[in-house]
């Protein structure tokens, strides 16, 4: 029996969906395992593997907060990531705009110089940065965790992304802005930025993630428990002999992914909306 056109389309669609689901399993499974293990007791984790816990240990999520100042550490991570994101957006869009649109002596050289920063791994710069921060007297504070991502290679990459986006914006729009009486800064703020929402959203996501996952810098610069950020805190759920307390660690990790999901959902909507917006002419 021959299928009609719409039926054929449905079959095709279903096949696609099924194959995508299959492909998604390896990505989703560890995530589900993490969440389920967060509800298991320490013995059940090493018992017969099940995806649904036999007994739900809700108290894991209470103990997580008793074991160390986890709420405080959670807050640290959030506010640092927010600060880094806001500052990076501000600086990268300003610098990116200047590099894209302003003609000044040595602009090309500056660009090459900045790009070369991308080729230096952070492990190389951590030692000089350590001495710099020590000299500034900001050890065991959050200042290095904000300054280094904003002004380091990550900031350069964000600047580069913004520059590429600004370069492609139609110049006549800025001319129109000039005719309407906007200053340079006005054009940046009122025309270039609103039109760059997809780029801003992308930079926001990767910056937030970057700051959120930062491990080496907190490890080097922080020493007191209440200053810890999440990645450090997570590795700190250990028994007195240094062996990980898996059930707590996994429960805490489950909590730690929540903000990332939220940020991603918000920014994703922004990206899609902005794509619909950005048609300059039909």
């Amino acid at each position: 029996m021959a299928l009609s056109q719409p039926q054929l389309a449905t079959v095709k669609r279903t096949c696609w969906m099924l194959s995508l689901v299959v492909v998604a399993i390896p990505f989703l499974f560890p995530f589900l395992w993490m969440i389920s293990s967060g509800f298991k007791g320490p013995t059940e984790i090493f018992g017969e593997p099940t995806l649904i816990p036999r007994t739900w240990r809700w108290q894991n999520f209470v103990e997580v907060f008793d074991y160390q100042p986890f709420a405080r550490q959670y807050f640290n991570s959030i506010y640092i990531a927010c600060a880094v994101t806001v500052l990076t957006l501000l600086l990268s869009s300003l610098a990116g705009y200047a590099l894209a649109r302003m003609r000044f002596a040595g602009a090309a050289l500056l660009m090459v110089f900045l790009m070369s920063a991308l080729m230096v791994p952070e492990e190389v710069t951590i030692v000089p940065n350590f001495f710099l921060m020590k000299w500034l007297g900001v050890m065991d504070t959050h200042v290095p965790l904000i300054l280094l991502p904003v002004f380091g290679p990550h900031g350069v990459m964000a600047t580069f992304l913004m520059r590429q986006y600004f370069v492609a914006l139609p110049k006549e729009l800025e001319d129109a802005g000039k005719m309407d009486g906007l200053s340079r800064v006005g054009i940046w703020w009122k025309i270039a930025l609103p039109m760059s929402r997809p780029a801003l959203a992308a930079v926001a996501i990767i910056t937030f993630l970057f700051s959120w996952n930062l491990f080496l810098e907190p490890l080097v610069f922080l020493s007191s428990l209440e200053n810890f950020t999440l990645p450090l805190a997570l590795s700190n759920f250990t028994d007195p002999y240094g062996a990980p307390l898996w059930h707590l660690q996994l429960a805490a990790t489950s909590l730690a992914v929540v903000p990332i999901l939220i940020v991603y959902l918000i920014a994703q909507r922004q990206i899609i909306e902005s794509f619909a917006m950005s048609g300059v002419k039909g």
Partner: protein, 349 residues
């Protein structure tokens, strides 16, 4: 009252001189059109007037004010761009009110003026849409609306119709003409479409390579072009030009003096197909292009290049036919070796 005065204006990008000394006076309320081939500097000149491009040399006066160093927004001009340049993230209303808002007009005043402009351009129903929700013609009208709300002294248009299809272009052309009649602002309009130039302009400025070739009313440019370039640029299809030598004897036989001229020009629409007895020139039709109202004939003259001839009516000669052509002496254009027009004594008072 807004005159615009341009004195020896020049512009260089690095070492390349793009505008090479322009002198021009635009009277109050005049509609001036810049035409010229691509890359001749029309846009650059317009952008220098607007303030978007700096001036390398010379002077620019708007009214009684020298504005060489005045910011774009403070020159009292409004510009309509080729790509419309509407802000995609703002509604039509916000687009039109944007400049007023930047200038810190009160919201009531902005509202009033936007509504007024919208009424003039029949945009009332579109005010809350985004540019992406408009058709090309509507976007064009919004762009014009954005220009008129600021009540500028001078309007600048840079090829505003070139993104529209042929029909809409004719329509918007008429709208722009009507708008100019109603508002009476001094207007400078750039186009490379000479029909647009002829229909809209009080005066046309023909540019080539950053220099003015000729300034004059459409009629003047058509009837008395200063040089071969203008003669061939204005008018469509373009003027036939050939060395005088090639047609000297027919001209002499018909009693036209050629003086010291080296080139002769005849417009396709001024050549009539006549009987052998009346004919001045004679040639064989090589191609006949049907144009609806008539035909455009490519006629191979003896010893001269191919002439285009416009033939109205249905009885167009076929390829291969021998045709005889006549014209009146006033339609014969003569040019010297440098391509400058040899102006003869006016033949008709």
């Amino acid at each position: 009252m807004t005159r615009l005065t341009v004195r020896n204006l020049t512009k260089s990008f690095g070492k390349i001189e793009v505008i090479r000394g322009i002198d021009l006076d635009v009277a109050d309320g005049e509609f001036v059109v810049f035409v010229g081939p691509s890359g001749c500097g029309k846009s650059t000149l317009l952008r220098m007037i607007s303030g978007l491009e700096t001036i390398s040399g010379g002077e620019l006066w708007i009214g009684d004010r020298k504005v060489n160093e005045v910011q774009a927004a403070k020159r009292g001009l409004a510009m309509v761009f080729q790509s419309y340049a509407l802000y995609p993230h703002l509604t039509v209303r916000q687009n039109m009110g944007f400049g007023l808002k930047v200038r810190k007009e009160s919201p009531d005043e902005i509202e009033r003026r936007v509504n007024e402009a919208a009424r003039t351009l029949q945009l009332d129903k579109l005010l809350d849409r985004y540019p992406r929700e408009l058709s090309g013609g509507q976007r064009q009208r919004v762009a014009i609306g954005r220009a008129i709300v600021g009540d500028p002294q001078v309007f600048l248009f840079d090829e505003p119709l070139s993104n529209l299809d042929a029909e809409l272009r004719v329509h918007m052309r008429a709208e722009i003409a009507a708008l100019h009649r109603r508002l009476g602002n001094t207007t400078i309009y750039v186009t490379h479409d000479q029909i647009e130039a002829m229909t809209l302009a009080d005066r046309i400025v023909v540019l080539r390579d950053g220099r003015i070739e000729q300034v004059g009313s459409p009629k003047e440019l058509y009837a008395r072009p200063d040089n071969v370039f203008v003669a061939q640029f204005i008018g469509s299809p373009k003027m036939n030009v050939c060395p005088v030598e090639a047609i000297r004897s027919p001209l002499q036989r018909a009693g036209f003096s050629t003086g010291g001229a080296t080139q002769a020009g005849l417009r396709p629409e001024h050549l009539r197909i006549v009987d052998e007895a009346e004919g001045i020139l004679c040639g064989r039709v090589s191609i006949s292009e049907y144009t609806g109202g008539g035909a455009l004939l490519h006629v191979e003259l003896e010893g001269a290049p191919v002439f285009l001839v416009e033939n109205s009516g249905d009885d167009a000669p076929q390829p291969g036919d021998i045709v005889h052509l006549a014209f009146s002496g006033s339609d014969l254009h003569l040019f010297d070796a440098e391509g400058r027009a040899c102006h003869r004594e006016p033949e008709l008072a």
